[in-house]
């Protein structure tokens, strides 16, 4: 087990390098800040242009540029942003903190209710409750998050204000304008709608996973064996049923980070929530390469990390899997 983990971790480093190189290439091909700099400043001297390239880390040779970027990234001398020559790390750090808060809230809420719905559906397959949960999950998956975000804004903010005098939930930001300091209640209120939008997708997805996984388990022979041994139904369900049904779900959960981040990007943008998603869309729109690259590294690293977690947890949870 230990050797397996070590080998997987060792493998993820070259993977990370290759993927970041590909991302570097794609971003450099896709954005050309030097050309726009020359366009805006047509009389810029050679030295000025060279300085611009140096400060922002825009080496014209992509392979050399990548290694130079990598060296600077590892040593902490990140090239500054194109717009305003700002330090990248403080902005990225804030965005990460905000997104972690929103993302973990939505994931916890989503997986909790998703699993419950899935179990409720699987206990009586084909029943009214099952049909209801299944259909709602299907509808939930079919509706893209930006649509539900718009609908919630319209309902809970704009029209609520029209009908009842004040809006139920705010629709943008983390705190009201001008607010300083920490206020848990206010923060939760501002997080409510975005969390709901992301959580709906997660609930819909996980209730389906949980349902099919639990149905598989419930129909297996060891469940019958457990019952025939005279163990109480409750114990059979929890110890033999739930435990085994959760194995594939845990794996899928770890692999799903990418799609959760995807949902966050869309949601954050609509609710002007200053997280990773807003950071990405803003710097992408401005073609700000020095801001984008560290963002990409964070995303690539977390996707690879959770892939690793998925593999390890799968191997650890399921004793039938032999590693060597």
């Amino acid at each position: 087990m230990f050797r397996y983990i070590l080998r997987r971790v060792a493998w993820s480093i070259p993977t990370l390098l290759i993927v970041t190189f590909l991302v570097y290439l794609a971003l450099r091909i896709g954005t050309d800040p030097v050309a726009s700099y020359k366009r805006i400043n047509p009389r810029a001297s050679r030295a000025k242009i060279a300085e611009y390239i140096d400060v922002n880390g825009l080496d014209p040779n992509f392979v050399q540029g990548y290694f130079k970027w990598l060296k600077n990234f590892v040593t902490g001398e990140w090239p500054r942003s194109i717009k305003g020559r700002r330090e990248v790390w403080p902005a990225l750090k804030d965005a990460m903190a905000n997104t972690l808060r929103l993302g973990s809230a939505a994931t916890v809420v989503g997986i909790f209710f998703g699993l419950i719905a899935g179990v409720l559906a699987a206990l009586r397959p084909g029943g009214k409750r099952d049909v209801f949960i299944n259909t709602s999950a299907f509808v939930g998956i079919s509706i893209p998050p930006f649509i539900s975000a718009i609908m919630f804004q319209l309902l809970f903010a704009v029209y609520w204000q029209k009908w009842f005098g004040e809006s139920l939930f705010p629709t943008s930001g983390v705190y009201p304008a001008g607010h300083t300091g920490f206020d848990l209640f206010l923060m939760l209120k501002f997080m409510a709608l975005p969390t709901l939008v992301v959580a709906i997708q997660i609930i819909a997805t996980y209730s389906r996973y949980m349902r099919s996984s639990l149905l598989d388990v419930l129909n297996s022979d060891y469940m019958r064996t457990a019952r025939s041994k005279g163990i109480s139904e409750r114990r059979v369900l929890i110890k033999h049923g739930m435990r085994n049904a959760l194995i594939p779900v845990v794996t899928i959960a770890a692999l799903d980070v990418g799609s959760i981040v995807g949902g966050l990007i869309i949601t954050e943008n609509i609710f002007s929530y200053p997280g990773m998603g807003l950071y990405f869309l803003k710097s992408f729109g401005e073609g700000d390469f020095p801001l984008l690259m560290p963002w990409m590294v964070v995303i690539v690293a977390s996707v690879l990390f959770f892939n690793l977690i998925a593999d390890i947890s799968y191997a650890w949870l399921d004793p039938r899997i032999r590693l060597e």
Binding site: F146, I147, G258
Partner: protein
């Protein structure tokens, strides 16, 4: 029931029966059929042109009324008529890019599954990586790369054109399909009839095109329906964030209309937000239901006793 069981049904008939038993899918087929009729007959069904104002100014932001069933937009154009023209473009984008991506994906998946080895490994790695990433991020980055390569211009056209979007989704959507077809081919290639074909000396190409792909038609059809939805929603998402096709000459798409909803929410022009979103939801749901029923119908293992 017992009478029906005694008559012998072909696999295709059985699949049809299973499909028809899925009530929501049948309703969805009717809805999509009606919608198609509406958009094909657009000059008749739309009450105004794409760019035509409902009446002389003041005509902007009219609430729904007899003159304009679903209200008007900021410059007085009829939302109902624009929706018809918009769905036309969006369905075209969905169908065209789905056909490209499913063809690509089926070929890649079949070859990867059949040959195995290095090609299979690399292909599946690439697929896994692409699927693990946030959809929107990959889409935007790939979009910029495609737009920045001048030698692709003859194929992709201008970055803001509908053709560019179709090529983008066509090149982008094959990975999920490739994975599904690969799985199917992996299980099919060990079967006796493939072995028999190999024994009589059939070439690889013959086995893939005559045995493996035709026997994967079910999953491929399912993948096709889901790709259509994926492309339609993808186009709307891109347009919503301002990276969609640009409306040349007042042409529109569902994405552009949904994108306009963003600005309409805070000002309270609810019809501009609600109706385009509703149409998108109905289309996405209907095609998803059809895909779901197709999956049940073509997968004998899922037989739920018709």
């Amino acid at each position: 029931m017992s009478k029906q069981e005694s008559t012998v049904l072909s696999p295709r008939q059985m699949a049809f029966r299973r499909f028809v038993s899925h009530k929501a899918a049948v309703a969805s087929c009717i809805i999509i059929g009606l919608l198609t009729l509406f958009i094909v007959l657009a000059p008749l069904t739309a009450r105004y042109g794409v760019n035509e104002s409902v009446q002389a100014p003041p005509n902007s932001f009219l609430t729904p009324r007899a003159k304009s069933w679903l209200g008007t937009d900021d410059i007085g154009r009829d939302l109902y008529s624009r929706l018809i023209y918009g769905v036309r473009v969006s369905l075209l984008i969905g169908l065209a890019s789905a056909i490209i991506s499913v063809t690509l994906g089926a070929l890649v998946g079949a070859v990867a599954g059949f040959r195995g080895g290095k090609f299979d490994d690399i292909m599946m790695r690439v697929t896994d990586l692409f699927l693990a990433f946030p959809f929107l991020v990959t889409l935007l980055v790939v979009r910029n790369v495609l737009g920045a390569l001048p030698w692709l211009r003859p194929i992709t056209g201008d970055m803001s054109s509908v053709r560019f979007i179709i090529v983008l989704f066509g090149l982008f959507g094959w990975m999920g399909v490739a994975r599904i077809v690969r799985g199917q081919v992996l299980s099919l290639k060990e079967r006796e009839f493939v072995e028999a074909a190999r024994a009589v000396g059939a070439s690889r190409r013959y086995i893939i095109t005559r045995h493996l792909l035709p026997n994967s038609v079910g999953p491929i059809m399912v993948a096709l329906t889901f790709s259509v939805v994926g492309a339609i929603i993808g186009e709307s998402t891109l347009a919503f964030f301002g990276y969609g096709p640009q409306a040349g000459d007042g042409a529109t798409s569902l994405g552009i209309l949904v994108g306009a909803a963003k600005g309409a929410v805070q000002t309270g022009y609810w019809w501009l937000a609600v109706f385009p979103c509703l149409v998108l939801i109905v289309i996405a749901l209907s095609i998803n239901f059809i895909g779901d029923a197709l999956r049940d119908a073509t997968d004998p293992r899922l037989d739920r006793g018709v």
